[in-house]
């Protein structure tokens, strides 16, 4: 099984919903419309493509892509053929929702909680979408490129001492 084979298969399955295909460093990467994410994950897992292992889910914030600011990234692995694939879906930051992958992979539960915790991507249909790593009282999503990296509660560092 080659990247070309997987790409052709997905092209036939998704049609117009397959927005982009690339192969950076040999890793097949597809961009799908977010409404089809569960479909494509189900297809990757259950068809002859056999991507049975969901390695990771994460997010990316692109402040300069209008209407496509947030991106959910899924990494899958075909353990038999040792082929990997990356699936991306973009969404606007005002309405960062996407269907949950927990219906396809149960391991997605904690991964989606983490992605929600850090990027604020809302996974519709997730059984328990609450913060997993940060403190519950946190009222922002720290990995978005919107916040100063330094701790705002810090009182002992001021510009006169650190020359900023």
């Amino acid at each position: 099984m080659t990247n070309e084979f997987v790409a052709e298969n997905l092209q036939a399955f998704l049609g117009d919903a397959l927005l982009h295909i690339e192969e950076p460093h040999g890793l097949l990467t597809i961009v799908v419309h977010r409404s089809r994410i569960t479909d494509v994950l189900k297809h990757l897992k259950n068809s002859e493509l056999n991507f049975i292992f969901l390695t990771d889910i994460t997010g990316v914030h692109y402040p300069n892509y209008p209407q496509n600011e947030l991106c959910a990234v899924y990494h899958l692995h075909n353990l038999e053929k040792n082929i990997r694939i990356r699936v991306k879906a973009f969404m606007p930051i005002e309405n960062p929702t996407i269907d949950t992958a927990t219906t396809v992979f149960r391991t997605a539960n904690w991964m989606e909680r983490e992605t929600f915790d850090f990027f604020g991507i809302v996974f519709k249909g997730h059984p328990n979408l609450v913060r997993i790593l940060n403190i519950d009282e946190m009222d922002y999503f720290p990995m978005r490129k919107e916040y100063p990296l330094e701790d705002g509660t810090r009182t002992d560092k001021d510009d006169s001492m650190f020359g900023r």
């Binding site: 790593l133 940060n134 403190i135 720290p142 990296l149 330094e150 701790d151 509660t153 810090r154 560092k157």
Partner: protein, 186 residues
């Protein structure tokens, strides 16, 4: 053979100042209690990251923390005298640390080992507590990232100094109550 006076031997604790006579010794209660406490501190290691590794070396036979009467490492807060916080304390860990502190019986001392415990260290970021003195009072800060075992021992000797010289009434003083109240404890 080295000719050593008994008082020079490090295993013998010096008596506090007082009046000595035939068959009796007179000193203040604080000095006697301080002497006992100072040489039998039970540390509770709260080791969360790299600084904890230095503490393991400090506990080992080479540096031998036990020489200071602190070989009984207490992993129960109830029996511990000295809370040694070694490592990065995430904000999510802060309530846990505070609970451990409140579970300790008086008198209790706290040592912040390393830059992280003292000030957040290099982790000037959203998830890390910027020094444990934001949630509990600290007696001695040990600088370093990580501090060498010698520095941790130096910190313990500073604690011992505080313990030996502390009045037995200090924990009942309004100043101390005020200090705890400022951290919202009790």
């Amino acid at each position: 053979m080295i000719d050593m006076e008994v008082k020079d031997k490090p295993t013998i604790v010096q008596a506090p100042e007082g009046e000595k006579g035939e068959g009796f010794f007179l000193t203040s209660m604080s000095a006697a209690v301080g002497l006992a406490r100072k040489n039998s501190l039970w540390p509770l290691p709260f080791a969360t990251s790299c600084c904890g590794i230095e503490f393991m070396a400090t506990m080992g036979s080479h540096y031998d923390f036990a020489r200071f009467g602190a070989e009984r490492v207490s992993f129960s807060a109830r029996q511990a005298d000295l809370l040694m916080v070694m490592g990065t304390i995430a904000k999510k860990m802060a309530p846990v640390l505070k609970q451990v502190y409140t579970q300790m019986a008086e008198p209790r001392w706290v040592m912040a080992v390393g830059a992280c415990a003292s000030s957040g260290g290099i982790f000037d970021t959203y998830s890390v507590l910027q020094g444990i003195d934001k949630v509990i009072p600290v007696d001695v800060y040990v600088p370093g990232c990580p501090p060498r075992p010698e520095q941790i021992i130096d910190g313990l000797m500073k604690i011992q100094e505080l313990v030996a010289n502390e009045s037995i009434r200090r924990r009942y003083s309004p100043e101390y109550k005020e200090l705890l109240a400022s951290y919202g404890i009790e």
